[in-house]
Symmetry: C2
Subunit: 145 residues, 2 copies
């Protein structure tokens, strides 16, 4: 019937996540640009620095992305000489992604980034950690459905 009192977009939790994610990517941009990386490419490298030689599927689990997103992204990383992609000899369906020398070197070059982001956030590490856990819990709940 009549228009109900519309909830302003600024008060929606989904929009706060949406816009905070964009703001976060914007904060990373100048730091990553210096390394020739995009934000999702950086996340993929972070996952590989933690554990090298993961399959596309394992990376997808870690990053919550499907092969339709990862395959082109990994090809771009390969074109930059940061990773190598090769079929697994034991199971030819799987593709293992391994860091190259340049890919491993990138970790040192990116080492200052987390500190820069922490500073830009204007929050204490403890506050950020607490927030992270709450946001992760929300995500896990949403995924559980």
């Amino acid at each position: 019937m009549e228009t109900k009192p519309a909830l302003p977009i600024s008060e929606m939790i989904c929009f706060s996540l949406y816009s905070a994610t964009h703001a976060m990517q914007h904060a990373y941009k100048p730091l990553l640009e210096a390394l020739g990386l995009t934000y999702p490419q950086y996340l993929a490298l972070v996952a590989l620095w933690d554990e090298d030689g993961q399959t596309v599927g394992q990376l997808g689990q870690a990053l919550q992305l499907e092969s339709n997103t990862l395959t082109p992204l990994l090809k771009r990383l390969e074109a930059q000489g940061l990773v190598a992609r090769a079929r697994d000899a034991k199971d030819e369906r799987q593709v293992r992604v391994t860091l190259t020398e340049a890919g491993r070197d990138m970790q040192a070059r990116a080492a200052t980034i987390p500190g820069c982001i922490l500073e830009k956030s204007g929050m204490t590490l403890a506050a950020l950690t607490a927030l992270r856990d709450q946001v992760s819990a929300l995500r896990d709940q949403l995924r559980a459905e």
Copy 2:
């Protein structure tokens, strides 16, 4: 020199936001699909339900998007008959976006969505509101730089 203890991606605040945003969009998907809307299109309509007749620039302020993203999105909403786009007579540089009858009707059809999302989140409204404010504060800090 040696590889430093790599921070697992699961412990990064940026990744929790990134993956929670994707999970949120995934939660909205079936609800919006029934209305023929994408998630950003829905957000644009929410902004218009709150205030009709905004310019592209005002919508961009509300949604934190530029015209290069909004223009094609609004054209798709226009093609669906949900909004109309017209140059402002007072200032021909500006384009005003107004809801059509169908666009206004959509608000009623979408009225159950926030409740569904609240339920899927498995959190109380108070907890979600508190989380929203923290995430918004982080976003504003990051944008301030």
